[in-house]
């Protein structure tokens, strides 16, 4: 009990942030597998990217190293670029197939 109290007094520790990041990443993977809508799958991919960002920032804070946060900056930029191109692809898919269901997009021909 005393050990628990000491753990709470010291503030959140690094493994807690890593565990939270693992949980968020797993929820993202589950969403990509479960969802049928292309836009929902894309949002779950963004959730996975954010879980990895949390890992980077947690390590950067607990080891007093700024390189982790710099990498998070680059990852966010790449995610923004990927969002633009990915949504353009989704619009092109919708324009040709009239449907956003990935289960129905199972042949390469229209």
């Amino acid at each position: 009990m005393n050990e628990l109290k000491a753990m709470f007094e010291a503030g959140p520790q690094l493994p807690w942030y890593l565990a939270l990041s693992a949980i968020l990443f797993t929820i993202g993977v589950a969403g990509v597998v479960i969802k049928r809508n292309v836009i929902s799958m894309f949002m779950c991919i963004e959730l996975m990217l954010n879980a990895v960002n949390l890992t980077f920032v947690a390590f950067s804070s607990y080891f007093r190293d700024v390189n982790g946060q710099l990498f998070v900056f680059i990852v966010m930029t790449v995610a923004a670029a990927e969002a633009a191109v990915g949504l353009g692809i989704i619009i092109a898919i919708f324009r040709n197939r009239e449907s956003l269901d990935v289960d129905e997009a199972n042949i390469l021909k229209l």
């Binding site: 493994p15 949002m43 950067s60 804070s61 700024v66 966010m76 949504l87 353009g88």
Partner: protein
């Protein structure tokens, strides 16, 4: 003590909103839950003494990417997913079992892995904007410039993907009297002539579609 409380509060919010993202069937509700995830992650970055990353997270993710996603959802008028019958019956018990296994592993990590000292996260000059700016413009200048090139590529790619083509695609609908066609589709002799012609009669539409009679409504 308060930092631990804040950690559990924001972590609970993040996990709750993430489960809501995959649980909701309407993609607009998923998008709003995802904004909730981003905001709680930004609060977690503040508890990690990374204020610059927290601000950039809100600006870029919640403020730009999710706005774009909501635009696309509204533009394409996406409907709710229908409930589909799971053909494989043993999926749910297996998922629950593996979920319990995952939680057990996470509990083991949290309680057993101990550093030699409990690190108190004091104010450090690591996360402030100045140190990130210094690193970005001295040591990581090349990735910075390459990232700007990447953004240019993304802009060009998105524009060329979403542009409408000038010719007929298989799903173009021709409504007689309103469609504007390029000339070579209406007059077979005028090849490669792309001057716009307003198609007014159903004869021209028949010629374009290659069918006889009125197109079905």
């Amino acid at each position: 003590m308060f930092t631990t409380l804040f950690f559990f509060l924001f972590a609970g919010m993040a996990i709750g909103c993430a489960v809501s993202v995959i649980y909701q069937r309407n993609p607009l509700y998923s998008a709003i839950s995802l904004v909730g995830v981003f905001l709680s992650l930004a609060c977690l970055y503040v508890t990690l003494a990374a204020p610059f990353i927290a601000a950039v997270q809100v600006i870029v993710y919640a403020g730009a990417i999710m706005v774009l996603v909501v635009f696309v959802i509204m533009l394409l008028n996406v409907e709710e997913e229908e409930h589909r019958i799971t053909k494989v019956k043993y999926l749910l018990p297996t998922a629950i079992l593996l979920g319990i296994l995952l939680l057990a592993q996470i509990g083991y990590i949290i309680t057993q892995v101990k550093s030699d000292k409990n690190i108190k996260l004091a104010e450090s000059p690591v996360g402030v904007t100045e140190s990130i700016g210094t690193g970005l413009f001295t040591k990581y200048l090349l990735p910075f410039e390459i990232t700007s090139l990447l953004l240019l590529m993304a802009i060009v790619g998105a524009m060329s993907l979403a542009r409408r083509s000038a010719t007929l695609t298989p799903t173009t609908r021709i409504i007689p009297g309103t469609q504007v066609l390029p000339k070579y589709l209406v007059d077979p002799k005028a090849k490669y002539d792309t001057t716009a012609v307003e198609s007014e009669t159903t004869e021209e539409v028949e010629k374009v579609l290659g069918i006889k009679g009125k197109p079905e409504e």
